[in-house]
């Protein structure tokens, strides 16, 4: 029993650390998004709170925390309260299976734990897909419970869009799964020692014929659509639907929706980095720390590589937002079903054929 409680305590500590990292990332993302958008549009972004506005997320958080919590008349109160929590929880628990660093074990209090992944389950990527598919419920329920036509339209749009693009996300990663031969994110990452899946890695070597670059492009585009970001932010299109599904939300519930959006952005960035860009692997064999004789610190370099990949994707999200205009709804649907889906299917077929003719050794 003591071992069980000890294990629970260690897991809890791991989970809290990871949630803390994710929340800090979310807070910095709200700042950097405004800052980078400002720079790209010849503005300054937030400059008032702290030097160069660096305390803006804190100020925003405090402001939203003390704002009045408004529930619209005629709203379904229980669902209205449930929706932001559901969205937030769903976008946070997906991080449990992401390997942030090398697959090493550590002995603490007589327990053997993996410090850089909370739960190394053997269906990790399916778990993430399942979690992501729950994310639509928060949006739909929030839109429905608000008793507002803008919210309802935003929720319906979100439902259709998330279903359509989740299909593409699921199909885009099948090629990677074929190459890796595993559903566990830890094993998938380990299979890409220094040649990543985007260039056609395999657990037993480097085969450029297996390149997954098309799947990668499909994945990134669909991930942008699934997190409701510009240019696919139709559920919250401010020029048509005020703010879409969170039009009627205020205060902390609004903050939950917004931070859930950033957290799910971070989650898809982590997944993209793990699946296509080798996760914590460097783009060269081994690590620099190993060459200079610091094997004990190799994990620092691994984590640095992972973080830089994730932040590259997050920057890409902002960059795309600064550049592209919003799609029309029928364009969105046509693009998802008539362009992305055939590409993803063709990628699966081609990868399957190449794997068949160059079987894993």
């Amino acid at each position: 029993m003591t071992e069980l409680s000890l294990r629970l305590a260690v897991s809890l500590a791991q989970i809290l650390t990871e949630m803390g990292i994710v929340m800090v990332t979310v807070a910095t993302m709200t700042y950097f998004e405004r800052k980078v958008l400002g720079w790209m549009q010849d503005r300054m972004g937030p400059m008032e709170v702290g030097p160069y506005g660096i305390l803006q997320p804190v100020a925003d958080g405090i402001k939203l925390f003390f704002k009045e919590d408004i529930v619209p008349a005629g709203a379904n109160k229980a669902m209205f309260a449930l929706a932001p929590m559901l969205t937030m929880v769903v976008s946070m628990i997906g991080f449990a299976v992401i390997p942030f660093g090398p697959n090493m074990t550590m002995d603490i209090f007589g327990l053997t734990i993996k410090p850089f992944v909370v739960a190394d389950i053997n269906i990790g990527i399916l778990y993430i897909l399942a979690i992501a598919s729950i994310g639509a419920y928060g949006i739909i329920l929030g839109g429905w419970a608000s008793n507002s036509k803008y919210s309802l339209l935003g929720g319906l749009r979100a439902a259709a869009q998330v279903i359509s693009y989740e299909l593409n996300v699921g199909l885009a990663i099948v090629g990677v799964l074929l190459l890796a031969g595993s559903l566990s994110l830890v094993e998938i990452t380990e299979a890409q020692a220094w040649h990543w899946f985007i260039w056609g890695a395999r657990p037993d070597g480097f085969f450029p014929i297996h390149t997954q670059i098309f799947a990668f492009v499909v994945f990134i585009i669909s991930a942008v659509a699934e997190t409701n970001r510009i240019p696919f932010d139709l559920p919250e299109a401010e020029s048509e639907l005020v703010a879409g599904f969170f039009t009627e939300y205020s205060g902390m519930r609004f903050a939950f929706f917004v931070s859930a959006e950033y957290a799910s952005m971070t989650l898809v960035s982590c997944v993209a980095a793990s699946l296509f860009l080798g996760g914590w692997n460097a783009p060269y064999p081994g690590t620099i720390f190993e060459y200079v004789g610091l094997e004990q610190l190799a994990w620092v370099e691994h984590i640095a590589w992972f973080a830089s990949k994730v932040y590259f994707f997050l920057f890409l999200f902002i960059w795309i937002r600064a550049t592209l205009p919003r799609l029309r709804y029928d364009q969105l649907m046509r693009f998802g079903w008539k362009v992305m889906l055939p590409i993803a299917l063709a990628n699966i077929i081609i990868t399957a054929i190449t794997v068949y003719f160059f079987p894993r050794g």
């Binding site: 720079w39 790209m40 549009q41 010849d42 300054m44 400059m47 960059w319 550049t323 592209l324």
Partner: protein, 179 residues
Amino acid sequence: MTFKHWIKTITFYEILVGMKATMSHMLHYRPSTLQYPHEKRTLPDNYRGMLALLRYDDGTEKCVGCDLCEAACPSRVIRVVSAEVPGEPTKRYAKEYYMDMTRCLFCGMCVDACPVDALGMTREYEWAVYDKRQLDLNKEQLLAIGDRSFPVREKQLELQHPNVAFFNVAFKHLPQKPD
């Protein structure tokens, strides 16, 4: 669809061009905005800001209560209550003078209309208030604005060139009043 067009489509050529544009703006970052309350834009010379009532150098008001500004104002900002100067039956002055600045559109027609140059446009523009009734300015407030915006005042009409008292066209370096 030509081959070139097709290549452009599958390589996202146009999107990449757009992303290059945004990135170049970020790399060559020159903001075109100002940190407004801390640094302010230099105003143009003919800036038309807050209206003010002016005085002569001995402190007497220029306004003679003729109501021409009230007649010229397109937004009915100005309300003048004129009265005789006590003891001087030939002279009038503005007993009360109100400007409802919530309606003012800063066209400057009252300044043009004034025959004695009693109205001026200052360069003040930060007039946000919490209660819009505070923007219904009375004569004392308008005179105070004029005092702080034009510390150097004109001489009394009688002390200027004799023609000025009659025609009011003495200052050659000032813009002349249109006929």
